[in-house]
């Protein structure tokens, strides 16, 4: 695999960020994790990742943060031609109905995780979303059989006719 697919975690509280990154440990070998503690920092990270020829597969984003809030950051991401492919997950306890509607309608939010989360739940969501990402991008599923949802990836290979030669 030439290009790296990153997981981006955006969270302003240090302990929460640490807990998230810890729970994502098993993915790190395949999907390097980058973190940012504000929307502004996150935008810089996103820019750097794409500038180096890599891409973001999944964003886990808090909502209430100093500066630009999480939903607005995700909407901005969605309007970018290149970056809108990334799967977007809100990890928050404090997004109101209005914000959530905004996120779904304008940022094509893929999942909503309410704090507090469990490790199991987080892993499940991340696995499902990254599997979606890899299939959407039509990447070779075989590279990800060991870490992502192998049954769904096999099903994908069955219906997308990887052929004999």
């Amino acid at each position: 695999m030439d290009r790296q697919i990153y997981i981006l975690v955006v969270e302003d509280e240090l302990e929460v960020m640490e807990a998230l990154v810890n729970d994502l440990e098993q993915f790190e070998e395949y999907f390097p994790i980058e973190s940012a503690n504000s929307s502004e920092e996150a935008k810089q990270v996103v820019k750097d990742i794409y500038a180096s020829g890599n891409e973001i597969g999944l964003v886990l984003c808090d909502h209430v943060m100093p500066g630009q809030n999480g939903v607005d950051f995700l909407i901005e991401l969605q309007t970018n031609n290149q970056q809108h492919n990334a799967k977007k997950v809100l990890v928050t306890g404090q997004a109101g109905l209005e914000d959530t509607i905004q996120a779904i309608n304008n940022a094509q939010l893929d999942h909503y995780i309410a704090k507090p989360w469990t490790k199991e739940q987080l892993e499940q969501v991340v696995t499902a979303q990254l599997t979606n990402y890899v299939m959407d991008q039509r990447y070779n599923p075989m590279q990800y059989m060991m870490i992502l949802d192998s049954v769904r990836l096999s099903e994908y290979m069955r219906t997308h006719k990887i052929t004999d030669h």
Partner: protein, 466 residues
């Protein structure tokens, strides 16, 4: 398009190969033969080193033959004493040759079968009599995989079977060798099962295509009579080997495949088309209608009825057809320019006996296809075998059909490495097996395969063909 060093090296070797015959006057080889040799070198280099996708090389091969060797090409507008150029339609016509149409019919059927879950439902039904004991489950999985891959692509079959075995593997102990056995049994059975019918796997198409150029038609059913007994023995051997090598610890395993047959109107039409086509195929010897003509039935029937849509047609694996057509087309000019005969004539064949020749062809074919595409292996070896047999230099016992079968069947017996076949690659990607597991089992199957093929070539195939 950015090229890496490996690609640049590959491309350069191919181009060198293409022009090299122009710098030598090879005795006994016509001018056109020199050109054909250059194209052969280029094709071999590109197919083996893969600087380009192999199907792209195939269209390049067709194109080069049209512009260099056909009557409409630059070099041989007129017949010469040594070479009567083929019309360019002979080369591009390979894209619609009977074997390609046969495959097209197979693709349409397989595609519709996947769309309506026929493959999965058949698996569910066929697996149920095999009970819960690990040994018999593995046998069941292998039988079903082989059966499906005889009519569908080996790779699609493997992918589907993975969705069956991955949940089983998740439930058995992490250290149970059964996990390895399960992960290996599917690709092995898929590789072997592909041998069973003409449409099972592309190397079969190469064999049938080459033989039909010699005016020999092998009916669908006759191929099955020739190949299926070998498939059964090879499959049983692979099963026995995997069960012994990776002794299961689990006492019983549960397969829970739920679901039921799709009973929508379209699905029923598909079942009918599938059953009818297969029935007509296997009975070709009785009614005499060629299998390529029968292959049009599902294409016509399923598109007229809308079971197969425009989107489905676009998603068919057309590149496989190109690949096979390129191979057949290469065979045309190797024959008509006298190149194949010249290569054959430059070796002292009578020094070998028939048996050792068969062993060599089977061995080289298995070895090459472990590292190369099975289809490419068959494509590169078949023209040599054909001219060896038709020229008669290898002696009476060296039968054209038999040696072609030896090469085609052996090409499917390669399963030593993850790169050997796409099914192997899928099994490897699950992370359950080490390359060494696959290599140990794969080498055993490969060696057994060579022995088996030679035995069939000496005793069974002559008996059926005469």
């Amino acid at each position: 398009m950015k090229l890496d060093t490996k690609q640049i090296v590959g491309i350069s070797i191919g181009l060198l190969g293409l022009i090299s015959p122009f710098f030598f006057q090879l005795e006994g080889l016509s001018d056109a033969g020199h050109v054909a040799l250059g194209i052969f070198f280029l094709a071999a280099a590109y197919w083996m080193l893969e600087p380009f996708p192999i199907y792209a090389t195939s269209v390049l091969v067709i194109f080069l033959q049209v512009i260099l060797l056909s009557q409409q090409g630059f070099l041989f507008p007129e017949s010469t004493a040594q070479y009567t150029p083929d019309d360019y339609t002979a080369f591009i016509g390979t894209l619609a040759s009977p074997i390609i149409i046969l495959f097209l019919g197979g693709f349409v059927l397989a595609d519709a079968a996947v769309k309506y879950d026929l493959d999965r439902n058949l698996t569910r039904i066929l697996l149920s009599p095999f009970g819960k004991k690990p040994g018999s489950i593995v046998l069941g999985l292998m039988v079903v995989t082989a059966l499906l891959s005889a009519f569908m692509s080996n790779t699609a079959t493997t992918a589907m079977m993975m969705t069956v075995i991955l949940p089983i593997m998740a439930r058995i102990g992490k250290t149970d060798p059964l996990r390895i056995g399960l992960a290996l049994c599917i690709p092995f059975a898929a590789n072997i099962g592909g041998i069973a019918t003409p449409i099972g796997t592309p190397p079969n198409a190469v064999v049938i295509g080459a033989l039909s150029q010699q005016g020999i038609n092998i009916p669908f059913g006759e191929w099955m009579i020739l190949a299926t007994p070998l498939v059964v023995v090879a499959l049983l051997f692979a099963w026995f080997l995997l069960i012994k090598m990776f002794k299961p610890e689990a006492e019983s395993i549960q397969i829970d495949m739920s679901g039921k047959f799709n009973t929508s109107g379209n699905a029923i039409l598909l079942y009918i088309a599938f059953a009818a086509t297969v029935l007509f195929w296997v009975t070709e010897s009785f009614h005499g209608v060629k299998s390529a003509i029968i292959a049009l039935i599902p294409v016509v029937f399923l598109t007229l009825s809308g079971v197969v849509t425009k989107e489905d047609i676009r998603k068919l694996p057309w590149e496989v057809l190109w690949l096979v057509a390129g191979g057949i087309s290469l065979g045309i000019s190797m024959k008509s320019t006298g190149l194949a005969e010249w290569i054959v004539g430059s070796i002292e064949w009578s020094a070998f006996g028939t048996i050792s020749l068969l062993v060599v062809f089977a061995g080289v074919s298995v070895l090459m296809s472990n590292f190369l595409s099975n289809t490419v292996t068959a494509t590169l070896l078949i023209p040599l075998a054909v001219s060896l047999a038709t020229s008669g230099v290898a002696g009476e016992g060296f039968n054209l059909i038999i040696v072609s079968l030896v090469i085609g069947v052996s090409a499917s017996m390669a399963m030593m490495l993850p790169i050997s076949t796409p099914p192997n690659a899928i099994a490897m990607s699950t992370g359950t097996i080490q390359t060494s597991n696959m290599a140990k089992a794969g080498v055993s199957v490969g060696i057994f395969g060579i022995i088996l093929v030679v035995i069939y070539a000496l005793f069974y195939w002559p008996f059926i063909l005469n």
